[in-house]
Amino acid sequence: MADILETSTKYRIRQIEIAEAEYYQQLTKVLDKIEDDIASLANKILPTTNGKLIDLQAAIAIRPQIKSILEKNYLSWSDRVVRKGFGEQSKRVERAFKTIGLIPPEFQELTKGDLALVKNLKQQYFTQFKDISNTFTRTLSEKVYQNTLLGSEFTVLEKELRQSINGIYSSSNDPRMNRLVDYIKRNKNDLSKATLVDKAVKTLQTKFGSDRAGNNMKRYAGQLLNDSLRDFDATLNFNKAKDAGLTYVKYYGDIIPTTRSLCRNMINGVYDRSGKGIYTIADITRIWNSNSWSGKKSGTPMINRGGYNCRHQFSYVNPDWYEEDGEESSILKKATPIIKKESKVNVSSYLNPITLASIRTVPKKVSQARISKSIKEGSEDIRYPRNPNGTVKYRYSGSQYIGKVNLRNLSDEMATKVSVILDELNDLAAKYNIPRLRGIYSNRQGNNIMAMGDGVLKINPDKLNFVERQTKFLAFMNKKHNTNISMKTYKEWKYGDKTILWKEKKVVYDRPFSADHYLDGDLDKLRNTMYHEFGHHVHQMKYVTKDTYQYGGGYISKVEKDLRSLTIKFPVKSPSNYAKVNDKEWFAENFSLYSMGKRKDLIDPKFIELIEGLQK
């Protein structure tokens, strides 16, 4: 077993192709039957005079019968695709995870959560298949009505009905056309005949005036079949990998005449920096976001593919499975799977953030090296503006730390945590298509908890005892204002609550002070604060490029202008007291909760609208 992973992935992909070919063949038969049944129905119940349609009442009455024909034939087929097709694919995904074996046993099988996901996906895709049925019931009925209204010849209507269902593949009186249609139907999924099939399609289009791009039912159903099987597989696979803590991927795909340039580059290793064909999800997202092509879907590349008939798939892996020389590790070649219990230690990502239990404190020099590697990449990002002479442009103080890492006075434990959360920030950088951070320094001066500017994060090592500081803050405020608010009540604050009301001369504290106060434990509070700072990085750097010549002291970014305009024009909801300070802190406080998926009830809907626009 030279490469279990490759074999298993290729098996999964091949089975999708086989299933698609099988269901497409069935679809062809189903639509041929529908085409004949509807043509026959129209011929039977629509009266004509001298071959022309005359009866509008009959034209209206035909609709339920068209619906019935579609539901009887097409929806039965759709049901088979989602029940049997998806069911079998989910077993293949499960088998693939069991075969790989290098993950905890509880994640090798389909869990309750996986089964619920499978059920939801079945319902979701069946609804999409049903939408096509509804659309074409309406389309066909309208064609009958319109042609009757115009008094068209029945043969004209028949041709329109047939082409609405099967497009160029519809039956015709011309035997030469039928021969070409038969050839295409038989060989559409045979890659070795792709060129000949294309030629046949072109002949149909040019000689017989058939329109391949017409809005016919076969085209839509065929496309949904292709999408649904692959999207289902990708979604389930992604979900299981996430549970198993696998945050790296290997790309698999082959080249056909219509392969998109992105996929071609992936296969040819153009983007492969590791030399092992392994990418982080953030890498893939960045590559995906930096390429565009006709028909590209929005959303994550881990589920969406390049477009129709895209053949790429990802397999989720742990980089530990690969040796330094780029060959798959010997552990993959052993017949008996080995479970690496520590595979998730100090591995984190935005989608799968690490928990305290999985953090193992390492010496600071190890964290320093890890952070430095990332900072080096960040500082080399060409989107950071530079002067014509190559020196960096800067807007904030602390430019001397650009490209540097200084962890002075941070404990080993804290440096480890920062290094791990930095990986999550890197994922966020990819998500918002902005450069990674290019400097991190620890500084006791200035008394600020953290600060962010020019892609440089400042951390104050004396302010990171979050839980202790929050406890003391609450006790202090209770004492000062003669209240007795418990930590539970404080943390569970929601809009409309009047439980907190600490009035001072100029400031009213009527909610928790900062977003991290809603969270438990120092790790999540540190993460929240780092995410808050990264929120500032987003509004500072989004849309900034090397050509942003104005970048410097007086520069105001596009997001900051939008932010100012939004907060001036509309009343905003502030999740914390600190969010009320100004528009940038409102943004960062909302951003930290939004990015952590915490206290969604407190996030301002206007912020969500704004931030989702920045993910494009």
């Binding site: 807007r395 904030y396 103080s397 602390g398 500084n443 001066q445 200035g446 008394n447 600020n448 908890i449 953290m450 600060a451 962010m452 500017g453 400042k458 104050n460 302010k463 500081r469 003391k472 803050f473 202090f476 405020m477 001072e504 001369k505 100029k506 400031v507 002070f513 900062s514 500032h536 002291g553 007086g554 520069y555 600190y578 300070v581 100004n582 940038k584 802190e585």
Partner: protein
């Protein structure tokens, strides 16, 4: 007015000067209780983002001493 309220006021000003900067830093040095320092640490986080406004007027960041920010 307490020191914290003064720091808050400075942060809310529409236009900042070196004088504001110096006062803000001075307040930070005068705060001794952890409770006050807690809130100030966040106000200082926000204040950092406003330093470019002062730097534009001054032409540089020389008004910052000893890596205060």
């Amino acid at each position: 007015m307490t020191l914290l309220e003064e720091a808050n006021d400075i942060l809310q000003k529409k236009a900042l000067s070196v004088k504001d900067y110096n006062r803000f830093v001075e307040i930070g040095k005068q705060l001794k209780k952890l409770d006050d320092e807690f809130e100030y640490s966040w106000l200082a986080e926000g204040f950092y983002l406003r330093l470019p406004e002062i730097a534009v007027k001054e032409g540089n960041y020389n008004f910052i001493k000893n890596e205060e920010f």
